[in-house]
């Protein structure tokens, strides 16, 4: 590809933030390639990046760049075809069955369409975040331990839903539902948060509130975040690091403060506006 030289050059010029060198990154992705079918097109064509424990990292790029696929590879909702993903020092691709579940419960995930169980109460939805830690017997009778229930109530209060604890999830508005999703992810006591387009189903005002809340909570619980956002302005406002993607390649990686107009133009070069 004709972009390739440019990418390599750009990467060398900018580099990653200097303080990272003497630490082990939380997440380290090397040469990640994904194609959904063996003969089909490659969605990711060799991505390298790492996430540090103080990062609030946004992946931006035009539609179809592979942002969502990238996020979903980290907890293997999508199976990578090639490359390595090292999370908390474990190679994600080598895990199977129970090992993968053990890793997944350390990863919080917030989804575009909230992915709540509509016919279940808000409380049960939030409690379901603890399922990875709950035994078969307790989970069958929905008898969660007291500290989980306390934590769920606290988190619901923290996201401003203390008056909706026993409502069904489908009785809430979009922004409220995403708050339930946030509470569910935080129930896991996650060591990293993955956000897959957390705001694209919400209107702009609510989007800012929700992103602000996530930012606040991530700072409070000291969780690194890897998120994928459509709205560039929102990404620049909320996140401290930006990864720009285009057509399966990484085109930009650096602090959001240092981002210039021409970097954005480069990322969105192929999008016809």
């Amino acid at each position: 590809m004709r972009h390739e030289a440019g990418i390599v050059e750009g990467r060398a010029r900018r580099g990653l933030p200097g303080h990272e060198e003497n630490r082990v990154p939380v997440l380290d992705v090397r040469n990640l390639k994904v194609s959904y079918t063996s003969s089909g097109p490659q969605i990711l064509k060799g991505i390298d990046f790492s996430v540090d424990d103080s990062d609030f990292c946004a992946v931006i790029g035009p539609s179809g760049a592979g942002k969502s696929t990238l996020i979903r590879c980290v907890n293997r909702l999508v199976e990578p075809t090639e490359g390595d993903i090292v999370l908390f020092g474990q190679n994600v691709r080598a895990l199977r069955g129970g090992e993968l579940r053990h890793l997944r419960r350390r990863i919080g995930m917030i989804f575009q369409e909230f992915n709540l169980v509509n016919r279940m109460s808000v409380m049960d939805n939030v409690l379901s975040g603890r399922l990875g830690y709950t035994g078969a017997f307790r989970s069958f009778f929905k008898a969660f331990p007291r500290e989980d229930i306390d934590r769920a109530l606290h988190l619901l209060e923290r996201v401003g839903l203390q008056d909706h604890v026993d409502k069904r999830a489908d009785a809430l508005s979009g922004g409220q539902r995403q708050r339930v999703g946030i509470a569910r992810a935080l129930m896991q006591k996650p060591e990293i948060l993955l956000l897959d387009e957390p705001t694209s189903a919400l209107d702009p005002k609510i989007s800012r509130d929700v992103m602000g809340l996530i930012r606040e909570l991530a700072d409070e619980f000291k969780v690194p975040v890897l998120c994928n956002i459509h709205d560039v302005q929102l990404a620049l406002e909320t996140c401290n690091r930006i990864i720009g993607m285009q057509d399966g390649y990484k085109k930009f990686d650096g602090p959001s403060k240092g981002m210039r107009k021409q970097d954005l133009d480069e990322i969105y070069a192929m999008e016809v506006l």
């Binding site: 995930m109 989804f111 992915n115 016919r119 379901s128 975040g129 990875g132 896991q188 993955l194």
Partner: protein, 279 residues
Amino acid sequence: MTVVTAETVAAPRKSWSRYRHPEATIRFAVMLAVLAFLGWSIAFLNIDLSRVLGAFPRLAEILATRYFPPDLGYVTDADFIRSVIRTLEMSLLGGFLGVVCSIPLAWLAARNITIGRRIAYPFGRFAIMGSRSIHETIWTILFVTVLGFGMLAGTLALTVFCIGFAGKLFADELEAIDMGPVEAMRSVGASPLQVFQYAVLPQVRVAFTGIAIYTWDVAFRAATVVGFFGGGGMGWYLKRTTQQLESQRVAAILLVIIALVLLAEIGSGWLRRKIAAMR
């Protein structure tokens, strides 16, 4: 006439397509083959078409002369009423066991959430299709042969019948769920059973309840005749009176069956509407 109809349907979609000719020819050939098979069937089975038309007046005549008036005294007999109650019990038990067994099988047989594509999925599908393919009366006869006459055989036959009937409906329902919550539960590290209980079951609970009631309704219909083949319940009375050509008693039993099935259908329809409204 059928050929014209087929073309009428094809016309709005493909009216100006150049490739109309082979499609229409294939349709025509299929129609011709079906018609030829039908003609051959009529000749092969030696069916006299006038007897087909004559069958309905003849049936009406027989009903009017031999079966009328129904011997209502026979069906108010305590023993008969007892057998009706046992039929009801059998259908409840068979329906319950069938539904209980078919939920895990449907889980295996639902393409989107099955535990394993290689072994579990074909196993679930085969179990459900197998139970479905064999008619409940054949199941009854088989169980009677192995386990002896009585309601055990009838109940088991109904169970297998319900596995086939409910299993398919359950599996269809499971294949139509929203996969978002399933994904969310997988990403919190839940085990397959927890995913099923927390992400799948809440989505299908109402539909499953409706299907379970419907299954009971159909199982009750089947339960009225399993006794005919030794499976216990009121069907046994039907067999005895039929064999002894006591047509007026047969008529009474048939009336009772129709009335009960109608009641079951009305009851289950009402319950299902109530449950659907609870969504």
